[in-house]
Symmetry: C2
Subunit: 217 residues, 2 copies
DNA sequence: GTCTATAATGAGATAGAC
DNA sequence: GTCTATCTCATTATAGAC
């Protein structure tokens, strides 16, 4: 029995390396050569385990997307169950949507941070259908349910106002989680976006106020 | 005198083609081959006129960034001049910041839309210092002045709350202008982000409410 | 300024031995 | 499953004729 040089199997190491490099350099910028090198395997093994580059990418996405989509489905369902005992507010729904991903960003380790960068980046790569397809497939059903919930909260509002409010929320979320230097530049160095302490509470307050203002009939 | 096959000079055609392809496929995804083909020139001409790929990219950015940065500087100054006659509101400052870019997006033609996609994408590419450097150099000074103006509007607020509010605003702006399919997905086809009619007014209302809520001391 | 031709490198993918 | 070796193609960049 050979002593393994690595604690993880080759496929796992390849997935981890691909996740990191795709998230940092994008689909085109990350080469299979670099991925193989970082995973300490031969290039041919990547193709052996995962097929062509597009397939590798899809499997990188699926590994985390399924878990995350389930988590926001659960948090919404928990809220709907409570609804029988108390009225649900816009703050509740926003919190249910944001908590799972911000939790994973803060406590999920490097792999989750890499995946979340990839997810955020995908929201900006819509031209490339292949790039966003694995995300859309996974998230579309649950996001439709959230949209419906937002609409129910403001039954008298113009639907376009509610749609735009959701777009503003999702757009801000995507950028923040990209661990962007945006926060650092805005604050002129006073804080970084990596420091997400308090951002969840701030987003809930900020965007709830926005929803209420814009969705006023 | 040869009859020119094109109304534009070769360097202009190359810049236009590069702008479009960089904005749609990113820095790595757009090859010099494709850029040259789209500009109807030989590949060697690209290098002749603009040097290496990074230099070409920088010149694509600079062509529009200078004009846009000037425009938001002017709209801020106009506001500060009015300030002697009437109090300036958060709505005024947000409007001054957003109007120039949304105007250009709607009325500036394809070139401006391509550039704005590039700009939005850059806010997501912070790992690549070379990629965002030309943007930061141009926009940092004027954005610092806007940040200062936001802080002055809420003198009693926690500065972190104001910084985060700005991050939320800029993040949403970046995503919206990317002509993202996000809006289409959220509304389940009811409208597209390309249809930006009314988005300016909606953003001003939505984000003003968010600022006021979050910046309450 | 523009062309042809080509260098030099890196890309993704596969064949075949072990 | 893993390796070596190689194929084929696309990439950026440059040399040199006109």
């Amino acid at each position: 029995m050979a002593t393994p040089r690595h604690t993880q199997s080759s496929p796992d190491r390849i997935l981890d390396a691909a996740e990191q490099l795709f998230s940092r350099r994008g689909f085109y910028g990350a080469s299979l050569r670099d991925i193989a090198r970082q995973a300490s395997v031969q290039m041919s093994l990547v193709n052996y385990h995962f097929g062509p580059k597009e397939d590798l990418f899809r499997q990188v996405v699926r590994r985390r997307a399924d878990e995350h989509a389930s988590a926001i489905a659960v948090s919404l369902q928990t809220l709907l169950d409570e609804q029988q005992r108390r009225p649900v507010t816009i703050e509740d729904v926003i919190l249910a949507l944001l908590t799972p991903i911000i939790d994973r960003y803060i406590h999920g380790g490097e792999g989750w941070r890499d995946y979340i960068q990839l997810l955020s980046r995908a929201s900006h790569q819509h031209q490339d259908a292949n790039f966003i397809a694995p995300f859309v497939e996974t998230y579309q059903p649950i996001m439709d349910r959230y949209t419906n919930e937002f609409l129910l909260l403001f039954p008298d509002a113009d639907k376009a106002d509610v749609f735009w409010s959701i777009v503003f929320l999702e757009a801000a979320l995507a950028n923040i989680l990209l661990q962007s230097t945006l926060a650092e530049r805005v604050s002129q160095g006073a804080f970084t976006a990596t420091d997400l302490s308090g951002v969840l509470e701030r987003m809930v307050r900020f965007f709830s106020a926005g929803f209420r203002e814009l969705a006023r009939p």
